[in-house]
């Protein structure tokens, strides 16, 4: 990639029509995110975190302005190309885990690889590796309904990172977890960030997450209130 950055937004606006008025969910967002960052979008509920994350993840498009993700202009991306971008380069983690209930742990993690047409032996290797990362190799034959919330989210993390994407987007990943599991999850992701140099972006308003972040962008009513780098040495 010729660009040194991974993600760049310029004069990004997202507006939702609300009856006669318009709700400005994102208000002139200008940020640049580089490879290997471990970044949190923080701010109160309704501040626009999810909306920004979705646009970066090509699940939504901006109303105005431009967003470049891994060399793709999100605002002009076709539905097909957006799907391809997500399939090949982006992993998602959701607040509610969103595992496929009829699949086993193994099959859930394998799924993104099936979409990529990766051959069986290679798939098996990658899935087992991802399950080792999150410490759930021994639960590979379980169904999601047999797992605790913490375990489910770890499966979701394995599913997000199994294809070794450049970028992982996590929307309130700890919101449904207790403190112990939240820390466990965050530690897992820090480890992956350091070992694989995967870029992580969180949307969160969970205080427990804050201390893990290396950069924190605070949103308020759709605009950037603060953008701070946190030196790990301070921790």
């Amino acid at each position: 990639m010729s660009n040194s950055f991974l993600i760049k937004t310029e004069k990004l606006y997202k507006k939702f029509p609300m009856g006669p008025t318009v709700l400005v969910a994102l208000d002139n967002i200008n940020i640049t995110i580089n490879k290997g960052e471990f970044l949190g979008l923080v701010g109160p509920s309704g501040s626009g975190k999810t909306t920004l994350l979705n646009i970066i993840g090509s699940l939504d498009s901006p109303t105005q302005g431009s967003v470049e993700v891994l060399g793709n202009k999100i605002e002009t991306l076709s539905h097909q190309d957006a799907a391809k971008l997500r399939n090949n380069h982006i992993g998602f983690i959701f607040q509610t885990f969103n595992l496929l209930p009829v699949y086993t742990v193994y099959e859930n993690v394998e799924f993104p690889l099936l979409l990529q047409d990766i051959e069986t032996a290679k798939r098996k290797e990658l899935v087992m590796q991802a399950l080792e990362w999150v410490g759930l190799a021994d639960r590979k034959d379980s169904k999601p309904s047999q797992l605790s919330g913490g375990q489910s989210q770890r499966v979701a993390i394995a599913r997000a990172v199994v294809k070794k994407p450049e970028l992982v987007l996590a929307d309130e990943p700890t919101a449904n977890l207790d403190a112990k599991n939240s820390h466990n999850i965050m530690e897992t992701m820090v480890k992956l960030n350091e070992e694989l140099d995967t870029t992580f972006i969180f949307a969160t308003h969970d205080e427990k997450v804050m201390k893990y972040l290396k950069r924190k962008i605070t949103l308020n009513d759709g605009y950037i209130q603060r953008d701070e780098n946190i030196s790990l040495n301070n921790q």
Partner: protein, 390 residues
């Protein structure tokens, strides 16, 4: 391949609901195949018996004979051509003379057809040998329907009246020597069979006939002046169109059955598309396109038909095989249909019927499964993930 695997997994994962749909749909398969097979068997048996007792290997009609016009019978008789004489002598054909007449059972008048047939004929499977019994009376055979409508029984005497070749009325008594329980109403309703020679005397029509019935599989088809050859296709046309009408009537039944099964599938599809928005959002986030999602959900619905075909084979296969082997006993009342039927029908389940039915159900199920999925084309990934729909 991926979506086929995924569709099977999802379908089996849906549990009871899937099986209820599959069972409902499998009933459609079995009912359609069973009913169609039954009708096919029924029609073939009907044709076979009609050929046996009525049509033989085709008929020559006197050129003036019109079965739909009783008045034509006054003139529809002629001397049997020489070529046919030979066939009759060698038992390869038999002739029938038909005249209008009337009977007076219990003092009421009833119009009938008087039919003369050679008691020794071997062409039609009728007990005409009973007409050899001439002991000072004219022996007569009637069918079960005729017996019912006239009130005549075996052993009864009844006065018949007819006109001879010159148009003069004459009357005599006949004795019912047997009531034939035939399945073919066209040799039964409103007619009395008597010996051909006797009838020729009564009508002064020596060597004459109205029609000649050829032996089954006869190759004889010469042009005879004054006579028209009617082959089996012509003779069976009415019967076949009747069969078509009857099977169309029956198809309403399984159309309704299929409709109910389709409603269940449609309902399931709507419900699953409505309930599984979040799953769709997740699949889109994982990089699945909308068109793949549409394929997946359509496939899931269509797969009901595949599972149903398997279920239908498991319980319907032995049933169909057994019935095809031992036949299907008809309720007694069916005879009044006017169908030419034996006591048992042997349904005919052809590969064409079975494959055709599977294809029909599969195609209809696929269409019904596809229709609700079109809504996915408008689904936004963000809305789907939030559990919101359109």
């Amino acid at each position: 391949m991926l979506i086929i695997k995924l569709a099977i997994k999802n379908l089996l994962g849906a549990g009871l609901r899937t099986w209820l749909n599959v069972i409902a749909l499998s009933f459609s398969y079995v009912a359609i195949i069973f009913m169609q097979g039954l009708y096919a068997g029924m029609n073939n048996q009907m044709e076979a018996s009609t050929i046996k007792v009525q049509y033989g290997g085709g008929q020559y009609w006197h050129e003036l004979y019109d079965p739909y016009d009783p008045l034509s019978l006054d003139d529809a008789h002629g001397i049997i051509p020489n070529e046919i004489d030979g066939l009759i002598k060698s038992n390869d054909a038999t002739s029938i003379l038909i005249r209008q007449g009337s009977i007076y059972p219990n003092g009421r008048m009833q119009n009938i057809l008087l039919k003369g047939i050679d008691p020794n004929q071997k062409i039609l499977a009728l007990p005409t040998h009973l007409l050899n019994n001439e002991n000072g009376f004219i022996p007569a055979l009637i069918g079960g329907r005729m017996a019912k409508s006239s009130g005549l029984k075996k052993g009864d005497f009844v006065t018949i009246r007819w006109r001879d070749a010159k148009g003069t009325f004459d009357a005599d008594e006949v004795k019912i020597v047997e009531v034939i329980n035939t399945e073919v109403s066209e040799i039964d309703n409103g007619q009395i069979w008597i010996p051909l020679d006797r009838m020729r005397e009564m009508t002064a029509m020596q060597n004459e006939a109205t029609m000649i019935v050829l032996k089954q599989d006869s190759q004889f088809a010469k042009n005879l002046s004054g006579w028209e050859f009617k082959n089996l296709d012509y003779l069976l046309a009415d019967l076949r169109s009747l069969a078509t009408t009857k099977s169309a009537g029956a198809s309403i039944f399984y159309f309704v059955l299929l409709l109910l099964a389709m409603l269940a599938i449609f309902d399931t599809q709507i419900l699953s598309i409505f309930r599984r928005r979040k799953e769709m959002g997740t699949l889109m986030a994982l990089g699945m396109t909308r068109s793949t999602l549409i394929k997946l959900f359509t496939l899931e619905g269509s797969m009901h038909a595949v599972l149903a075909a398997i279920a239908a084979m498991i319980y319907g296969g032995p049933l169909v095989w057994y019935v095809a082997k031992v036949g299907y006993g008809l309720p007694a009342s069916t005879n009044s249909f006017g169908f030419a039927l034996g006591d048992r029908i042997y349904p005919e389940f052809t590969a064409g019927l079975i494959i055709g039915t599977i294809l029909l159900v599969l195609i209809v199920t696929s269409i019904v499964s596809y229709l609700p999925t079109r809504r996915i084309a408008k689904l936004k990934p963000t809305d789907a993930l939030r559990g919101k729909f359109i």
